[in-house]
Structures are given as structure tokens and as C-alpha cells.
Amino acid sequence: MTRLTRRRFLGSGLAIGCSAAASPLITPVALARAPGENRLVVIVLRGAMDGLDLLRPLGAPGFAALRPHIFDSAKPGHPLDGFHALHPDLAALKPLWDAGELAFIQAVSTPYRGKRSHFDGQDFLENGGYAPDGGLVAGRDGWLNRAIGLLPGADLRTAFSVGQESMLLMEGRAPVSSWTPEAQVALSAQARLLLETLYADDPVFADAARMAFDISDSTDRDTERQGAAALAAFAAEQLRGATRIAAFSIGGWDTHRGQNSVFRRALGELSAAIEALRTGLGPNWATTTVAAVTEFGRTVRENGSRGTDHGTGGTMLLAGGTLSAARVHGVWPGIGPSDLIDNRDLRPTDDMRRPLGWLLAGLYGIAPSAIERTVFPRLDLGSDPRIIA
């Protein structure tokens, strides 16, 4: 056990040495097989992101009239496919679209219906629940954790939950690391040495401390980046090494009033996070898929305070070098009065678990039957939407 092997243990993925071997969660056998090169980043957009503002259905008759204050016809956004336009503040993402590295799925949702509660909706989104009345998959774990459990050779470093709040999405029986780049373990060399002595006979503490120091040492503390970009930069750093799956959250999407200013701030976070992932991953961006999901969409009509309220159908954003094409996937349900749910919400035309399931199948070779049995129980996967090439 030398300092050299401990340093950059996580960042490089080269030095598997003592840290891994000492951890009760990792067996040497598991370390022999890595789950391939494909990388997946799931971003949970908390607060119900207004998909109709991010990806504007300009081709839909009556769209502008439904949103007299939110939508400014002088600034309709960046045209994409003749029907949709990207929010004007997302100029930074337009080059990704032009390069075939940005896609969307319109009018998707979880099966959650009815109360439109953020908390229930997020639990549903992260657990992969199936019943419309709030029934969660038994065990209260996350679908991404269940998927990790199916990866051959997955170990503690395969997946990272990033940020200080725990994410149900990543919780469960499969080993997952969690870290927040804000964590500070800065101790003097002497204090660290003394602490290691104190933990010598207590493997639970010894392993946790060793890994905390390893992560901290191997991460360049990025003081430039703030917020979601800092989380993304940390995730990218891990994904360059042995990590293949990462997840973090971006809040601030609950735009009940004064949507334009609130939404702009949240979009800035999302855009900066994607940019930090792309630059941080470098050549590995080619094997990366980013999926940004939200608990539900928002009302089609603007409300009385220049915002939108909790709705149903929403939009999923996808980015990365793995995508098959710059495309808006999914069926447009229309926004005429008879098209809406409860005369207010966009009607979902697909269950977001389906594209997510196919994504996992495509990236990691998980059998569709295993997706339907374990990752998203009671789901009929249907046919492959071919989001990735």
C-alpha cells in the first residue's frame, strides 16, 4: 500500500490496489470485468420543467396565443426541424443539434397521474413506479440502481451519485458511490496520518476514509464552476476514469409566476452542465449519452401570474455522441382544446420508461426482458425508438 497507488485511484482507474480490495463491497473478480465504454448521465430536473418552453412547438396552431406573456414572437427561438424551436437562451446547445448530438422526446411522462405533486412525481420518476395512483416498485429503490445491479462486473466505482442530496434514482442494493464536489476533507498531512492510525482496526471507517481521501485527492477542486456545472465537471472527471453511470439533479424549474426570468436561470444551469460534461469528457463524449428527465410537464396555457402550473406530458432532453440523429422523437399530441388532459395538460403519447429502457438495453446490453422484469416492472417496452446509433 503506497501513497502513489492511492492517489488518483478513482480518477485514473489504473490503480486498483488496496482501496478496492479492502472494500467489502468489491470483490477482485468483479474488478476483472468492466461494463464497456458507454457512459450514461441522468439529470433529474426537479420542479417540473416546462417542456413547451424549452422545446417550443412553433408549428402547432394557437401555441403563441396560449402563452401571451411567456412567448415573445419577436424571439421565437432557434429553429430546429421546421416545427420546433429551441428556447432563445439555449444558443449554446444549438451547435450540438447541428452536430447530431442533441435530441428530444416530446409528450412523454411517467404513469403518475392525478395529484400533480412534485414529491410524489419525483418519487415515481426515480423509482420507476407503474400504477397511476402512486404505486411504487417494491423496495423503494431507484430504477437506475436496479439497472446497475444487472451490469456484469459493476463495482463501487461504476456509478456515481453526485451532489449533496441523496437521489432515490441511485439508491438500492447495487453498490453506488456518492460524492459532492463541495465536500472538503482538507486535513494536514499529520492529521490525516493520525486519523488513518485511529481507523486501522475499524475497516468501515478505514475504507470510507481512504475512499474519501482518494476522491478528494484525485479531483481538481474547480473553484471556477458553480452549481450544476460543478456537479457536471466532477461527474465528467469520474466518467473519464472507471465510472460509467452518473446522476445529479438541477432544481429551479417550478415556474408558477414570472416564468421567463426563473426559467432562464434554470436553463443556464442545464446548459452549463451539459457544456461542462462535453468539455470534461473530451474524446469520451463520443460514447456518452445524457438524459435530462423531469417529474411531469406544465400546463399548456399561461396562468394569471405569467407562469405555468403543474401539468402532465413533458419533454426529455438527450445529448451526447451516441445519438442516432438530431431529432425530436415521439408523437405530437396537439394542443387544441380536445387534445388536452383536463383541458389543461399536454397529453403524453409515450411512457418515458420506454425510451429509458431501450437506452439501457442499447448502452449496456441488458436484455429487454430483464428491463421489463427488473428495471421497469410491468412495462411493455414495445419497439426500439432508436435514440442511439
Partner: protein
């Protein structure tokens, strides 16, 4: 190395030592202090009616906002201020009571039962009514009969809202005929699975449904809290675990009866005996200890004082190895106690309490907000993770730096751990380069983080 009973009493069955408090000497002293008055510095618990009245103000303000009323902005600001002002003392109490109380065992039990009867303090109403449940349904009943605590908790508006009992209607009740809603089984299921018998016990889906039907009528309104509304109750009798309850007219007493029977059930005795042993003694407790506690439960019909006495009289309860990991909340309270915070010389300022809430979030234990109704995990491995330990390092550094000037690290070690401190720790503390690092080593030591 044998650790004295006095030290184990303070750290295994309490929140650790305070420099200005004589610790309980032994099991008898722990039991004698149980259920005493709360420290007088604690802020008062608001009445449930005043919490509900504030929720109504918030709702009215939100409606006014949607209507675009001119005064709505100011109205909403006032309502939100009132909400924060009502919530603040409830959150402060969750930190101040264990920080200041000489009855550490009682405070640990409040936390144990609050976790057993988890209500996630998430979202506007639950953030205030969840701690209200802890103060008014759990705390007064920790040393009484389990049956009384069970009834108080299951009929508290926090539980009724959290587990959807407030929307449950008897399918054949008059209320259901005028509504598209029906039965909700959530509360009934968790009563059997989590609160009484335990998930492995011998009850069926039919028992869940029958109990859910028996519970109908029990609800929470938006003004005064718990209500029993017979027009929501399912007509007829219900059979739970082979015993027939209820009949017409439906009444709250029937619900009290089934809860009383569940409280005395042998499966409940075994389920909670094991939880007590796991929480206080070991992640993998001695089966003889569990059986001993369960026997006392059954003998006494769930008299909690008798149950605790049985726990503490068993030799397994005083095993000299510190095998449990302190949860982050326990760690933070013990840290503040070791520094003697909350005294006249070192007051516990609101700003500090907010900071502690933030640090707990970083360690993965947001106050009163676990991921589900099954509460926080118990195993050391769930808490002593890289991120969890990094959070402890951060907290330890912050508090050590704050108090380094006034404290000698060697004296602090004695205050915090007494004879639980190993020779190795004594050496490490004396070998630290700086005073604050000496304090920090005590706080991060296995001895201080286990109990």
C-alpha cells in the same frame, strides 16, 4: 478494554457527555430520568389549530395570486412568514431538546419512536405537522403504554395526511356515493407492516383491506386536525387477524380497540424488541437479548417502561464493544454537547442550528426527512460512507476551529469520551500539530462515532 457502565449509559443510551451535566450512573438512573420535564429553554410547541390556520392563509394567498389580486403579493409574503415562524421552533426543538436535556435516554427514545413512526417532513404542511407529531404524540408517551402512543400517532393529522388516510372513503359509505374516490390502504398497510406486526408477520392482504375499511371515517380536516366522520366509514363489521371489529354506527373506539390488540400482539412484541436491540446495541443483536425484551413486552402488554427496564437489565445491553455507528444526527448532537453548547457562555444561536441542519443534509440525514415511511437505515455501512465521513470531517473541522481557543484538546477528549477513549486516541490527540486538529481527532475517532 472494558468501558464503564456509566460511560456506556451516556453514549450508548444517550447523546453523550456534557461538561456541565452529571451523567446517569447506571440503568436505574437512566430509567429514573425518563420522561422528566423538558429543558425550560425550549421554545413552545404551537397548537395544531394555529398551524392549520396558517396553511389556510397560505392557500388563500396562493388563490389570490392566481386571481391576480393587487394585494396578493404582500398577503403571500405575510403568510409565508407566518409559516416559517411556526416551523422554526419545531425544528429548533429537535436539536435543542437532545442538546440540553439531562435525560439523554428519553431523547434517544423520542428519536427512536419518531423514526419508527416516520412522517417525512417534506412539503409545506408536513414540514410543520411532522415535528408536531413528534412533540405531541410521541414525546408524552415514550414511557407509557405502546398502545397509547400508537393511537396518538395513528390519529395525528401528520400521519393521516402522510399516509393518505385523509382521502380514504369506505367504498359503500354515504360519502363515497357522492365522490369518485374510494378506499386507500396506505395507512392500514404501514400500521401492520411497519408500526406493529412487522413485514414478515402472519397477516394477509385481506387483513390489510379489512383494517383499511375499519379505519375509514378517520380523517384530518383543514381546520382542527383529526376528525371521525361516520359518513365516510364503511358500513358493517371488519375482521382483522380473525377478530371482528366495528359495526354500525362506526366509531373511533373500534379503531382504538384494533390498535390496542395490535399493540399487544406477540409479533409486534418481537418486531419492536428486535428494532430496539438493533437501534441501541448492535446491527446484529444477540437473539437472547431480543427474546428477553419481547418477553417483557408480552408480559406487560406493551408497557414501555417495563420493556426498557428489561432491555437494560440484560447483560447483552452492556456489551463492551462499541459496535453501532452514531447516525449523523446523533453525531452532531453529541458534538455540540461535548463542546457544552447551549449554555449561557456558549449559546446555541439560531444561525448555528440552521448550519447544523445543512451539515446533516450533506451527511445524508436531512432532518426528519428519510426516503420513506420505513425511516433511516441502522447499519454502520449506510452512514460511514466516503461522502458521509467527509461530512463529519467538515463538521468536525468547523466546530473544532470555532472552539480551539478556549479548549485544551486533551481535556476535551476526557470530556467527550472519558474511559471510552483508547490509548491510541490519547496519543493521537497529544501528537496533533495544532489545537483544533487535536479536537478534530477526538470528533472523528471511531470511539466518538460509535456507541
Amino acid at each position: 478494554m472494558a468501558i464503564s457502565v456509566r460511560t456506556l449509559a451516556a453514549i450508548r443510551y444517550g447523546y453523550g457527555f456534557r461538561p456541565d451535566q452529571p451523567p446517569p450512573a447506571d440503568a436505574e438512573a437512566l430509567l429514573a430520568r425518563l420522561g422528566g420535564p423538558v429543558p425550560r429553554q425550549l421554545p413552545a410547541v404551537p397548537r395544531i389549530e394555529s398551524l392549520f390556520s396558517i396553511f389556510q392563509q397560505v392557500r388563500a394567498a396562493n388563490r389570490a395570486m392566481l386571481d391576480g389580486a393587487r394585494s396578493a403579493e404582500a398577503q403571500r409574503k405575510r403568510a409565508r412568514q407566518a409559516l416559517r415562524a411556526a416551523r422554526a421552533p419545531l425544528f429548533a426543538r429537535r436539536l435543542l431538546a437532545p442538546l440540553l436535556s439531562p435525560d439523554g435516554f428519553g431523547e434517544r427514545l423520542v428519536t427512536f419512536w419518531a423514526d419508527h413512526f416516520t412522517v417525512e417532513a417534506r412539503g409545506a404542511p408536513l414540514m410543520s405537522v411532522a415535528p408536531h407529531l413528534i412533540e405531541t404524540a410521541v414525546r408524552p408517551n415514550i414511557a407509557g403504554r405502546f398502545s397509547d402512543m400508537l393511537f396518538a400517532v395513528e390519529t395525528h393529522p401528520a400521519m393521516l395526511i402522510y399516509l393518505n388516510q385523509n382521502v380514504s372513503l369506505g367504498p359503500n359509505s354515504p360519502a363515497a356515493r357522492r365522490s369518485d374516490r374510494g378506499l386507500n390502504e396506505n395507512l392500514a398497510r404501514e400500521i401492520l407492516e411497519l408500526h406493529t406486526l412487522g413485514v414478515g408477520a402472519g397477516y394477509s392482504q385481506t387483513d390489510v383491506r379489512e383494517l383499511a375499511e375499519l379505519l375509514t371515517g378517520l380523517t384530518s380536516d383543514n381546520k382542527t386536525g383529526m376528525k371521525f366522520l361516520p359518513n365516510r366509514a364503511e358500513p358493517g363489521t371488519e375482521t382483522v387477524l380473525g377478530r371482528v371489529y366495528g359495526g354500525d354506527p362506526a366509531q373511533l373506539g373500534d379503531i382504538a380497540q384494533v390498535l390496542d390488540d395490535l399493540a399487544r400482539h406477540p409479533d409486534t412484541a418481537r418486531h419492536i424488541a428486535r428494532k430496539l436491540a438493533v437501534h441501541f446495541v448492535s446491527d446484529t443483536p444477540d437473539e437472547r437479548l431480543v427474546a428477553h425484551i419481547a418477553a417483557a413486552w408480552q408480559r406487560s402488554g406493551g408497557d414501555l417502561s417495563a420493556v426498557y427496564a428489561a432491555t437494560l437489565e440484560h447483560p447483552g445491553a452492556w456489551a463492551p464493544t462499541l459496535s453501532k455507528a452514531r447516525q449523523p444526527y446523533d453525531f452532531m448532537i453529541a458534538t455540540m454537547r461535548a463542546f457544552g453548547l447551549g449554555s449561557a457562555a456558549n449559546p446555541a444561536r439560531p444561525q448555528m442550528l440552521r448550519r447544523v441542519g445543512f451539515i446533516l443534509l450533506r451527511m445524508g440525514q436531512k432532518m426528519m426527512d428519510p426516503a420513506g415511511p420505513n425511516g433511516w437505515p441502522e447499519e454502520a455501512e449506510a452512514w460511514i460512507t466516503p461522502q458521509g465521513l467527509a461530512g463529519r470531517m467538515e463538521a468536525a473541522r468547523e466546530f473544532s476551529r470555532m472552539h480551539a481557543e478556549r479548549l485544551d484538546p486533551r481535556a476535551f477528549l476526557e470530556t467527550a469520551l472519558r474511559d471510552a477513549a483508547s490509548e491510541r486516541l490519547r496519543f493521537a490527540v497529544s501528537a496533533a500539530e495544532q489545537k483544533w486538529e487535536g479536537l478534530l481527532l477526538t470528533l472523528l475517532s471511531p470511539e466518538f462515532n460509535r456507541r
